[in-house]
């Protein structure tokens, strides 16, 4: 290059070396970026390959319509529905607690709380989401269940209600944190317009800020659902591990995740149908998560407000 000759102190070879180093670094960085893509592909590949081996033994019809899930028994049944029912029930219980609680905390933090309260409380609240899930499992089993049994004496020691409530508590910070960010992104002039019309803060929050931030709220709820569907240790510890086709949260049941843990605890031969069944279960879990995310994506698109 001609302009470099104007600087005699920079030799051509040094410049070439630096440019070469830049190329090499760029390639290394690209490879690191590809690790993420590779991980996704590997997850899909592993789930599909092992599941396809599973579906050599089990028909899709049996998988979807059989009402019993006993792959490890002599009389093996392969109906995924009991596990799906357990997963959906615990998720529903969790959401019934977390959505109102998380949204109200978010409204409070975003619209009512003084600045220093928000700055102090938010990180502490996020610690709730950082507690190891196995600790939450212990909490559900040894504290929440006995507490619930005080009000419902016939409640069994393992039940989906207590597990679901604790999962709900666990996802409150996710819901509230993302919702609060969404609400704070609603521009100030919209609030001011509302105040100028004589609305109180609560009215402004409920009729201007919440509708304005709806797409962000939907994203927050979807994040919460994803966490609840995939939550493993709380249900494995507190909900029992018996597959049970019921939507009654007071009963014990296994979720998809709890089943995977249960099988992993035993010593199952690589390549057996029982081994393959956990991958099929994992595939269903991914599928459920995907459905919720697609719905969430649609909701955020549909209700996005442009300012």
């Amino acid at each position: 290059m001609s302009e470099t000759t104007a600087f005699p102190s920079i030799s051509q070879s040094a410049l070439r070396y630096r440019k070469m180093r830049d190329r090499i670094v760029e390639i290394l960085l690209l490879i690191a970026g590809l690790v993420a893509v590779f991980t996704t592909l590997a997850i899909v590949a592993v789930l599909l390959i092992e599941s396809s081996a599973f579906f050599d033994h089990v028909t899709l019809k049996e998988f979807l319509t059989d009402t019993m899930w006993t792959p490890l028994f002599a009389d093996a049944h392969y109906g995924i529905m009991p596990l799906v029912a357990g997963t959906l029930t615990t998720t529903a219980v969790a959401l019934i607690l977390a959505v109102p609680l998380g949204t109200m905390i978010a409204i409070y933090l975003s619209e009512f709380a003084p600045h220093n309260v928000r700055e102090t409380v938010k990180p502490i609240l996020e610690l709730l989401g950082a507690v190891p899930t196995v600790v939450y499992g212990y909490f559900a089993l040894t504290m929440v269940t006995p507490m619930l049994q005080y009000f419902m004496p016939e409640l069994p020691g393992f039940n989906m209600l207590s597990a679901g409530l604790v999962i709900g508590l666990m996802i409150v910070p996710y819901v509230s944190s993302v919702s609060e960010d969404a609400m704070r992104a609603v521009p100030r002039y919209m609030r001011e317009g509302s105040y100028a019309m004589g609305a109180t803060r609560l009215q402004t929050a409920l009729r201007v800020v919440v509708p304005g931030a709806f797409s962000g709220l939907a994203a927050a709820f979807i994040l919460g659902i994803s966490r609840a569907v995939g939550e493993t240790m709380v249900v494995a510890i507190a909900a029992g591990m018996q597959p049970n086709l019921t939507f009654d949260p007071r009963e014990p049941a296994a979720t998809i995740t709890a089943y995977i843990v249960q099988v992993s605890l035993g010593d199952l031969a690589h390549g057996s149908v029982g081994y393959q069944s956990i991958f099929a279960a994992g595939l269903v879990l991914m599928f459920i998560t995907l459905i919720f995310n697609v719905v969430g994506f649609w909701l955020t698109r549909r209700f996005r407000e442009a300012y």
Binding site: E50, L109, P173, L202, T257
Partner: protein, 313 residues
């Protein structure tokens, strides 16, 4: 809106009454919101106090230096905390460089095209994949295809993949917050892109990167499901091969291939025993685990706060 058309017909008294009612509702919400929030914080405190109280009889030096045992009173967490420390070492060594590098690529190098978009969507989606699915990935790929077995290396790699999105997202955020004027000044003096990144962008984003790394590791330390899926043993009465040897070449990587147990697995094992005596072991292990996680989070918050205060653009 119905209220505004009604207000036009309202007498001043009715309007005033309506207003005071709305103001009361406002107050009520403040109280409700505040108390819900305090309730959540109180639950966190109760959780912690409960663990400490239940585990109190088991705290002591013996608990840290004993192996797991069939007798609850003499069981300890030696193998568990050693296992956890070694796994975290592997996780940090793998996840941090790869995550930071991927983030640098996405922020500083990646051209705006469909390929970059695919990588970005990928990272976002990976963050939403349930942790147990990573366990299945590890079981199928690392344990059986790559023949790593049920080893510390397999567990560390699994958790590294799990926290990779966390590290990437945190690093990207802190890189993005470095103002462009700094990059342009460096380019103006003839620096290459890597020199700009290494000498100017990275030093400013160290705080954010450290925060992301600690938060990622604090997530990994409590993860139970993926390493159960690999098939970690919960009864281990020996330590992995020591990494430092007395004879040449002084360091050994044999421990990477050793079977292991970890804190959350040990706790899960104790929780699922019907014997009440083991519950207090579980509580003690849980209290220690919770302390580790909260301490890591505290450090992360502190670093973020310090760096935010120190830098004035």
């Amino acid at each position: 809106m119905s209220t505004s058309s009604a207000a036009a017909m309202m007498t001043p008294e009715a309007l005033r009454r309506g207003l005071s009612r709305r103001k009361i509702l406002d107050r009520v919400f403040v109280i409700v919101g505040l108390s819900l929030m305090l309730a959540c914080l109180a639950i966190l405190a109760v959780l912690f106090i409960d663990l400490v109280r239940d585990g109190a009889p088991r705290f002591g030096w013996d608990f840290l230096t004993n192996f797991a045992s069939r007798r609850a009173s003499s069981a300890g967490i030696l193998a568990a905390w050693v296992g956890t420390s070694l796994i975290m070492l592997v996780t940090a060594v793998c996840a941090v460089p790869v995550g930071v590098m991927a983030a640098i690529y996405l922020e500083e190098y990646a051209p705006k095209n469909w390929f970059t978009a695919v990588v970005e969507i990928n990272v976002t989606n990976l963050a939403g994949v349930p942790s147990i699915v990573y366990g299945l990935l590890a079981l199928g790929l690392l344990v059986h295809q790559l023949n790593l077995g049920q080893s510390i290396l397999a567990a560390g790699l699994t958790l590294a993949l799990l926290i990779l999105p966390i590290v990437i997202v945190a690093t990207r955020e802190s890189i993005r917050s470095v103002p462009n004027s700094i990059r342009e000044a460096a380019y103006g003096l003839g620096a290459t892109r890597w020199e700009v990144t290494k000498d100017h962008v990275l030093p400013y984003s160290t705080g954010g990167i450290l925060t992301g790394m600690i938060l990622g590791l604090s997530r990994a330390i409590g993860e139970t499901a993926p390493i159960i899926t690999i098939g970690a043993l919960s009864f281990i009465a020996f330590l992995p091969d020591p990494p430092i040897k007395s004879e040449f070449p002084f360091v050994s990587f044999q421990w990477l291939n050793d079977p292991f147990t970890a804190m959350p697995i040990q706790m899960f094992n104790w929780v699922s025993r019907p014997d009440q005596a083991f519950q207090s072991n579980a509580a003690a292990a849980g209290a220690i685990l919770l302390c580790m996680t909260l301490a890591m989070n505290g450090v992360a918050i502190f670093i973020r706060y310090r760096f935010r205060k120190k830098i004035n653009w």
